[in-house]
Symmetry: C2
Subunit: 333 residues, 2 copies
Amino acid sequence: MVTMSDIAQRTGVTVTTVSNALTDRGRVSDATRSRILAVATELGYEVNLTARHLRMGRSDTIALIVPSVHDYFGEIADKLAVLAEATGRHLVLERTSALTESERAAITFQRLQMFDGVLLSAVGLDHDDVERARRRTPLVVLGERPMPATVDHVRLANEEGGRLATAHLLEHGARRVVVLGGSLSAEFGISHSRLVGWRQAHDDAGVPADPRLVVPVQDYDVRHARAALTALIADGVPFDAVFGVTDMIALGAMSALAEHGLRVPQDVQVVGFDNLLFSDFLVPRLTSVDPHSRELAATAMRLLEQRMSGADAAPEHVVNPVSLVVRGSTRAG
Amino acid sequence: MVTMSDIAQRTGVTVTTVSNALTDRGRVSDATRSRILAVATELGYEVNLTARHLRMGRSDTIALIVPSVHDYFGEIADKLAVLAEATGRHLVLERTSALTESERAAITFQRLQMFDGVLLSAVGLDHDDVERARRRTPLVVLGERPMPATVDHVRLANEEGGRLATAHLLEHGARRVVVLGGSLSAEFGISHSRLVGWRQAHDDAGVPADPRLVVPVQDYDVRHARAALTALIADGVPFDAVFGVTDMIALGAMSALAEHGLRVPQDVQVVGFDNLLFSDFLVPRLTSVDPHSRELAATAMRLLEQRMSGADAAPEHVVNPVSLVVRGSTRAG
DNA sequence: CCGCGGAGGTTTATCGATCAATCTGGTTCC
DNA sequence: GGAACCAGATTGATCGATAAACCTCCGCGG
């Protein structure tokens, strides 16, 4: 490993001068500077970021801590990475597999220290965990759980999304809309908030909302989604539409429907939420609530920049707008 | 920020003793140790990993550098993370968006230094880049490009996978199999190696392989895949099956086929490659080549462990076996 | 009474880079 | 001629933790 000290010896100056030359700080004559640069390239020197981090207290790195990377958050990550690079910073991802233990591990101060700022999407952390993390590092929380008022938070307009999706179904003839992944007992999270929109749409349309059509899905997993809808069919509960609270769940639903010979959208209409990249390629193309992830990423990054700059602005709770993308899985498409 | 020095002052011992007490090294009396621990908890001390990293030369962190996280690599990452944690290490992800520039940035020594080991899946790096990186940090390369013999490398049995997929199609009546995402001009990479398997299967079956059925797809992107197959249909080139060189490409193909009223598998059979999580949920379920990613992850981690342990074992080039998962998108399903 | 060994610490150096303060010759200007 | 100034360096401390070498009692055997 080549250090500044090696360069200093070879050029006959001190380490400080080398540092100044390489970082363009302080006063260094052109002659000395070019000698130093030449030797640096010759030896193949590269700065030790760990040492710099220790000394400067900055790592120019931002962490995105998320439950999983192969769905919604993976798409968000792509957008965030670009924004981070634009300000000379670097984005790394940590995945917690939605385990509270992993999440706790990820937000220990030890880990948080490594980064100038943290974007956190937690599923299992409570207010205390988040509050502790916030006091230790610039933090912006993403996601659909309620958060302490003290922390910057960006979430989606889940109720509105649920309402849009359900209203669209009702407008096109559906009368019994399953909300797959919803939950009557949850008090927060997407199972709750997107369900609220579902209920709202029924109220608006004057259609009764049957609680039997609220079908929970464990872990929002596509497998469990298919199983849950299959069970509903087996139970003989009649329905003519499915609102999947995520696109993955909607995918599971479409799979279950196909297994039972039910056609989409003729027999059952389907709407998802997240508008994932692949949703436009399903057969039929999936109508879905778009989370406007570009705006969401921009907002999150703006808030984080603000925190990192040390400004003690009041914490913001931003609700990102959503809109419905209509495609072939509903009768209007 | 609370440091060991703060604890040392409060307990009246030196920093070294604090370090020894907290890490269970050296000699510290039980009385002193418990006093130190008590003060540490009281002050809310947490070790500064950056300082430790600088001093120890270890970060207990492994990086997985990949083009994108929302497909195949996202699923690999999940498996690798578990294996890393098992040895007390931590996995972080870096995405390069398949841009050679980002990849170069990711493998500068500066970045690589941050990690004890690196798992790299590069699409645009040449031998020199990789060779340079290898000399600087424990490195294992994943992926389907040819690699210098000096570096540990895990790749898939692409030819075999392509052969399996194509043979399966030919066995079930297909005679004109499009290889979507293949390329006649590529000399390596999946466009080449999976095409080799396609050709092999034709030779084995004594069916002529029409070069007009080799249809390249830019960036292996689902959008481009759909467009490419649509163009093929418009050109009036007859075909009765599609081998998509990735599941994403197969998805694009299924979408294009549906748009033109072609039924899968009755009119056109489809096979993919990667066996992504969602592929089992498409309608019809997608027959796909499974990359055995659990084994792949285990192999990669084993090689990396070996490198990190400093053993100068000869570099291994491992070819991970694949197998065909037959589902409804082919006529046997 | 001397010397030895070990428990329980402390001292000092180190990792590599950065920063504030300081030193050293020249020049310039009045 | 001397004060003021400046370019171009250097010194020394620092970030926080760790490792190796060293010191200091204390008890104990000979």
